[in-house]
């Protein structure tokens, strides 16, 4: 008899494992379908549905099937039990049922209105996985990969514009969306739609901040494939990367804004505390992320013989940056972003060529999987999420707000930036940037983080609809839009850079241009980085003995890597910065030659550059350039 019971208990436990297996199997199946579809589309050069859009579509269909094909299996589902002796929510609960002790783990607090009959539907429940999975498992690789692949040629000279869009632009977007939504909410209250709900201006701002995280992953993939103008690509990519960080911290700061008395009145103290929170969390996360990357750079300085150990170390230390930031109450995602940027800037130079490729491919692969899982899940959530609140007026308002806010972000800021920029951002680029204001993984993850109250559920539903709409409609419309706006495609970034370097040498004499003035802060940083940080943290850069004052020589000799003396030209970044000051200072020695040097090495290794974030479309891309798009490029140029 005792044996028999044990047998049953083993069976039960196995049943439990199997359910987890089925759930994962569904996701695997969706991802395999997505991969096969991508392959089919890529093979037929069909560019109207990006892989993320496809993943979402399959998720949606699967969600529909799960929702209607499974039913609540548990008879007692939705019953709330009373336990008089329990006084507070404990993390672990031991409950005695008919003389058997069961251990229960705390999951969440649930509102009365959320308790429903689907509580016992194991399949649905498993499918709606914990929001913390997004923040702790799926987002970090995506964000890290964005940072790690940011080492683009044109990035540094657009840094000012990128940061303006990311910080100022996101703040503008958040406030505009908040204001418009507040108007709509007032109207909804007026017609009696939100009876009994609490919906303050801070809630509208909260919605504004989470909807301000743009995610043009679809657009960027097509840009990369078609070799769209590098400046436009860099502006959009850089904006979307940093804007995520800003939106996440902003959302967090707004969510903990807590005025002491009336939540509708403006509380200056609480407001400044929120601003302080924002700055503190952002700076802290930045410091956490970059210091882990610097530690990695220092360790990899000595560890360059063993590719697997190097790869492991970069992976583990970057993940630790995320976890440490989370543990310290900062924002892990922001930390991991800056960790990625710093890793690419310093550590990457210290890695052996084998490790460079390994780390790149590893992070690329993780990004690929995580991205497709998120988009699959978004599709699924449209049907499997149990507490959707569809409010047509709110949804309409949100669509209006999102587009107005994007316009108020791009056009005025570009106007201001163009005053200071030597190379203006043309009209068609501005329209394209306006068009690329897609919402994606971050907005979704921020919205699903809290879906307890009804206002939050309404926000989640609305955010999800906006994501689905923008990914499908704007993502699919990218190629026609590019043609319509007559934006250059098929650009070779190397050619572009060389031509520019040549034209700059010609105008070398009038070196105090507008651009140099506006970039003074950046030039100071660049000089410091090039002269001191790079030589200390990497094998590249000039030896410290030449950059430090003479009296520091003993220290300098100690800190300089022996390979630095011969390898001044190895620094991969020098050609990323075309800067008048630099050009006059050491044009012959470092600005021009690396361009040639780099092109040479690209031809030699071939693989490395082609693989960068394009799903390894090496062969295809070349075909494309030479056949399909060459004519179009000519007609556009």
């Amino acid at each position: 008899m005792e044996k028999l019971k044990k047998y049953v208990s083993v069976k039960d436990e196995d049943q439990f494992y199997h359910e987890g297996a089925v759930e994962l199997l569904v996701f695997n199946f969706l991802l395999i379908l997505t991969i096969l579809t991508i392959w089919l589309f890529k093979n037929h050069r069909f560019r109207f549905l990006h892989e993320t859009g496809g993943a979402m579509l399959y998720g949606l269909v699967m969600g529909l099937i799960i929702q209607y094909a499974t039913k609540a299996s548990d008879v007692e589902s939705g019953t709330v039990y009373e336990c008089e002796k329990l006084t507070s929510g404990q993390s672990t609960l031991l409950i005695n049922i008919t003389n058997q002790v069961y251990e229960y783990q705390y999951k969440r607090e649930i509102s009365h209105h959320n308790v429903n009959g689907h509580q016992g539907n194991a399949m649905l429940q498993k499918m709606t996985f914990d929001p913390s999975i997004f923040f702790n498992i799926l987002l970090p690789p995506i964000i890290f990969h964005a940072g790690y692949s940011l080492k683009k040629r044109h990035f540094f000279r657009n840094l000012g514009s990128i940061l303006t869009y990311a910080f100022l632009g996101t703040a503008i977007s958040c406030i505009i969306i908040g204001l418009i939504m507040y108007g709509f909410v007032k109207a909804m209250v007026h017609i009696g739609q939100l009876k009994g709900w609490e919906f303050h201006f801070t809630d509208c701002l909260f919605f504004g901040s989470l909807m301000s995280a743009t995610d043009p992953v679809t657009v960027l993939a097509i840009f990369h494939e078609l070799h769209v103008d590098t400046d436009l690509y860099t502006l959009l990519f850089g904006e979307s990367v940093f804007n995520d960080a800003v939106a996440i911290v902003l959302t967090y700061s707004i969510s903990i804004y807590s005025p002491k008395e009336n939540p509708n009145a403006f509380d200056a103290a609480a407001f400044f505390q929120s601003v302080g929170n924002f700055l503190g969390i952002f700076a802290g996360s930045f410091a956490m992320g970059s210091s882990y990357a610097i530690v990695t750079a220092l360790i990899s300085f000595m560890l360059c013989e063993f590719p697997m150990l190097e790869t492991g170390l970069v992976f583990l230390l970057s993940w630790s940056a995320f976890l440490s930031a989370e543990a310290a109450g900062l924002t892990g995602i922001v930390a991991v972003l800056f960790c990625g940027v710093t890793q690419a800037h310093y550590t990457y130079n210290n890695l052996s060529s084998d490790s460079k490729m390994r780390t790149k491919q590893l992070f690329e692969f993780m990004n690929f999987l995580a991205e497709n899982v998120i988009f699959c899940y978004m599709g699924l959530a449209l049907f499997t999420f149990q507490n959707h609140v569809f409010n047509p007026l709110f949804i309409f308002g949100a669509f209006v707000a999102v587009f107005v806010a994007r316009a108020c972000n791009i056009y005025p800021l570009t106007f201001l930036l163009n005053l200071g920029r030597k190379q203006k951002i043309p009209r068609n680029f501005q329209h394209m940037m306006m068009f690329s204001g897609l919402r994606g993984a971050i907005a979704f993850a921020l919205a699903i983080r809290d879906t307890e109250s009804q206002p939050k559920q309404m926000m989640f539903t609305t955010a999800l609809l906006i994501v689905v709409f923008t990914v499908w409609v704007f993502g699919g419309g990218t190629t026609p839009m590019l043609t319509w706006l007559q934006i250059r495609v098929g650009v070779d970034p190397d050619e572009d850079l060389k031509a520019e370097a040549a034209s700059q040498t010609a105008s070398n004499l009038d070196k105090n241009t507008t651009k140099a003035e506006s970039a003074w802060l950046f030039r100071i940083w660049y000089g410091f980085d090039h002269k001191y940080l790079k030589p200390i943290l990497t094998h590249a850069g000039p030896p410290l003995t030449t950059t430090l004052p003479e009296w520091c020589n003993p220290v300098a000799r100690l800190l300089t890597s022996p390979s630095a003396y011969g390898d001044q030209l190895k620094d991969d970044d020098t050609d990323y910065i075309i800067n008048n000051d630099e050009l006059t200072e050491n044009y012959e020695s470092s600005a021009h030659i690396p361009v040639r040097d780099r092109t040479g090495s690209t031809q030699a290794t071939g693989k490395e550059d082609i693989n960068e974030g394009d799903l390894g479309l090496g062969g295809y891309k070349l075909r494309l350039e030479h056949t399909a798009y060459q004519p179009q490029m000519n007609s556009l140029a």
Copy 2:
């Protein structure tokens, strides 16, 4: 007020995330330490502590710190609550506490004697993670990697011996350990140590089966590094890979052996049911794993332009093999093992060279991480596991049983095998195999799967001690043992194979040797595989038009890849099989030339072969061969 409560609730939730972060951070920290230590050891050619041993050591120290530095934080920990209304264990429990509904998730059934004051120690609780993590997340990549890297030259000609050790050897080992332990248990009952426990012969067999999973990861790493004789390496590697599968299914079959009446008496029906279970689960898992791999091979047949998609597909389909087997009530680990072997045999040939490297490096990296996490965790568990049952007599008995069983497995079976083998397994190889009977991840994972009852807890404690002892003592003693047993090191497998091929050509006339006779079953399979399966599933092998009968020509032409006609020599496996029959049949066309061809390609690409499972010690390995071990090799040879 409402705002304030929300603020607190957000805080609480964050607190929850942070605890998870701290726990992961501890593991990351341990892994980083391990990596740095490995690097230090490798750099100083210190071979007494393998990375897994190091990981275990760090885990142990950390466990000690956690155990004594943290204390039970929860006042109400260990209190069991009564809820009259609850009648059965539900997967989700909604509990009303002071008008707030909390959702609790079912975790496990817990015995009364296991309820203790540490229940509320969040740190300890988080550190002792769910055993299902081992089976669903950590073991699959390790086992798959073993299968995927099994494509070794000498593997196929030792297949018979490997399968004998794996199946017969594991069964012998299980029964011997079971019998010896039963003797010890009887003695313990006699002196009154196990009062009130139920401890049947099946429990002893259960312990025997889980202790039969050998894991010579430490030994194999050193073998690989020192280039120990390839036959010995292959025998040990092959045995350990397949033996895991056998031990897992055996353990499962024994655990569900349930005689109807008296558990001490022998129940023939239940016994045959167990044997049937074993055969059914094994065959089913094998079929599941290999069919997923065949699907992958067929898909990758067309998908060879996009490395990232290929890699994603191989990864997802292999994982699906695992999940499908679990969902179908089979053994996922066994499925994933055979999936790995089949992927290596067929799919690998269809992949682009970029994907070959990507998949290899990806699985190698996952294996590296998972292995070190498991060994770290084993160290941790020695102190953080709350229900250890140390019984000196049982532990002593287990040590004796494990070594006696290993001896009864290796020596008699080798004697029998040597009767049939042309190339005998020498005495010193047998001693080395005896010495390499380490226990590791699988034994641990099987033991931790069920630690509810006290006998199971005692088994777990004992298994853990045996793992720690064998990994440290035998792992550390590998190099001295190799010297003492005068086993060849510094062997170049290519050279080895060529020499042998030459000697076989010389004795080509007397082709009906003992070996050919014993391998008839294998030869039939090989012929079938070479003539039909390989041409259908891969780009390699002879065209079907030449292997199928003439009347099948239309079908054959349809199924043959166009590249197969020119690429007969591409098949990587042909040189793995030195088989008299093959040699006479097509020696000139496929057996000899690939050897030369292969050596050539190895020199050309270089990287691929060196990276194979050796943590990328390319540079180091070469140095080692030429300096440290050359003299020793000469003295041994």
